[in-house]
Symmetry: C2
Subunit: 372 residues, 2 copies
């Protein structure tokens, strides 16, 4: 292999490939990036056991010259080297011993490469089953509104995933760690109906490398989710198991509905959190004179106590007191975008929902905690 | 105590006081900030066993109203609370039980205060002995050019300090961890001659809170260094012990002098460091045709090897090969500001110096390592 690439183009492709590379040392070759130069251009592959990415640098481009095709596996620290180079062009050349020379200006690096045959195969047996197509921007939105609710601990691996469902022209993402739940459902370009559980980290990595304006085509092949977009193929190993049926926890009627300004509520919860080690706050919906207010207070007294008051913008139903984890509420509120949100309650011991006022198909749900 | 303060003014003062506050829990009262309101304004004190700061918010200012004088000790998390408030004004009011109410808009916090009598006294027995006066900008320069060479490990506590000397109208800072040394000496406004060892962390904290354009007056009182500047008094406990005599390690003559472009050298060392776990690089001063070059190479081959070449801008003496820690050289070069630097060698096993080409009174010195 012998190629010349423009430094900025190579650095960008390496940044995408290297961020997927395994950090530990259990399978050393996964700490590497596979380079393949063909007449079409250069293909970089990086990944770990959960997800991999393939990045293309097309040859029909002033930024690449393919002198000699070939393939080599190089340590991911190449990304750091290229990032710190100062000259415009970088040449990468392998010799028979797998030793690869990277040259740019007066800098010369010889990296010990690995035989590309040893790199895990990326070939999938079955062609992808059609799933859905959406823009990078919309995919980011789906992930941002759900991933925070997926479980961080490993006791129920299936809950570390985001549950993806398509059918009837709709795309639906659900995530829950059994203390809270997030859900978004919208009309999107879907094909045959399917269900899949994708690890939250895979989705988070995927949306970091996708351009907002590009179309992303998502299919299932073997036990992988495959996301294709301009110059890039991302694969995430599906989580196996049954996703719990969460429909029954979502309230259909509310006994109390309260409208609040999202950013005011966020700041108040943020301040109250400073004083609580367990993050529990108590919310009281009260009537003062002829208007309704929400009072928030800390439920702990070691360092001190705090109260915040917010004016309600729309009230229906009964007054109520309920305690919940402010951290969950903060994450839920940050995932929404509307200026105003509606809290829907069905009693102080039942899960409550937070929904944007002017946006259908989105829901954040939190289980209350028993106040001490 | 009952005061009303403009939020931004209070937040700024708290930020300075809180950063000095002890992080651990060994002496809980040091996790707090002492507030004192007098007719002159509000004084905040924060600190740990190594250094303390006193910040003044003067009352002759539209931003402060002293309703009732008094004093209280409050947890440093008050800084977080104030930073996150949204209204312009904050009131702080204590009651007889030491409970202190902080109010701003619809937010109310009650913090459990501590009796101010329990806070460590700040009174120094002896008046400060005059030392030196310089601007915040110059003080930053003195610290930036030396502190990195002070020892990070605790085997010889005295080496964790910066050695401050005045005399004959000169101010001199020296730091060494016995593998490298940094020194800066300039004419400044000094008073009686003195010597003191100040912990590197104290200097680093001090220069972070000092304004560049303000004059800083530094004196010694009891076993403290006291730095006074506009609205602020900083105290650092002096390190006890004898600072080693470092003059004998500084070469007076050189057998090789090499001029190099500082930023080119920095980038080259930065790239080479990616490939070395022990940071050792070998520098060879060579003659190619009729010009001189410096070749740098890694001294390790596990991941691969690398070479960089730099053109020498001024050469005197003998050709030479020397190995050293690239990390030390990078920190030394970052501490200098000139475009060009001069390396001075007296042999491959002797300490070498790096000096700015156009700036006298500054020196970085590094001990070579034996190449494997």
């Amino acid at each position: 292999m012998f190629v010349t690439v423009q430094k900025s183009v190579l650095a960008e492709a390496l940044a995408k490939a290297a961020r997927m590379v395994a950090k530990g040392d259990t399978i050393p070759i996964l700490n590497c990036i596979k380079f393949t130069a063909t007449d079409e251009g250069i293909r970089l592959v990086g990944g770990n056991t959960a997800h991999t990415i393939e990045v293309h640098i097309p040859a029909d481009n002033d930024s690449v010259i393919i002198e000699k095709t070939g393939s080599i596996v190089l340590p991911a620290l190449l990304r750091e080297i290229v990032r710190k180079l100062e000259q415009e062009d970088v040449t990468i050349q392998t010799n028979g011993d797998l030793i690869t020379t990277i040259k740019s200006g007066e800098a010369t690096f010889q990296l010990n490469g690995i035989d590309p045959e040893e790199y895990p195969s990326q070939t999938l047996k079955n062609a992808g089953r059609g799933a859905f197509t959406l823009t990078g921007e919309k995919l980011k939105d789906f992930v941002a509104k759900t991933a925070h609710s997926a479980s961080k601990s490993g006791t129920r691996p299936v809950l570390e995933g985001v549950f993806v469902q398509t059918g009837e022209g709709k795309l639906k993402f659900t995530a829950t760690d059994s203390h809270r739940l997030s859900l978004i459902e919208r009309l999107e370009k879907t094909k045959e109906p399917l269900e899949a559980i994708v690890h939250r980290d895979s989705f988070v990595e995927l949306v970091r490398v996708v351009d907002e304006q590009d179309e992303v085509e998502i299919t299932l092949a073997d036990n992988w989710l495959v996301a294709e977009t301009k110059g890039m193929i991302f694969r995430s190993r599906l989580l196996e198991g049954n996703y719990p049926n969460v429909d029954r926890v979502i309230p259909q009627d509310y006994t109390t509905k309260v409208g609040l300004n999202r950013s005011e509520l966020l700041s108040a919860l943020d301040r109250l959190s400073i004083l609580t080690s367990n993050k529990v706050v108590k919310m009281s919906v009260k009537e003062i004179d002829i208007s309704h207010v929400v009072e928030l207070e800390t439920a702990e007294a070691e360092k001190g106590s705090a109260q915040e008051m917010l004016f309600v913008e729309g009230f229906e139903g009964e007054l109520l007191e309920i305690s919940f984890n402010a951290g969950y509420a903060i994450e839920a509120l940050k995932a929404l975008e509307d200026t105003d949100v509606i809290f829907g309650f069905t009693g102080e011991h039942s899960p409550f929902t937070i929904m944007p006022k002017n946006e259908a198909g989105e829901l954040q749900l939190i289980l209350p905690v028993r106040a001490s």
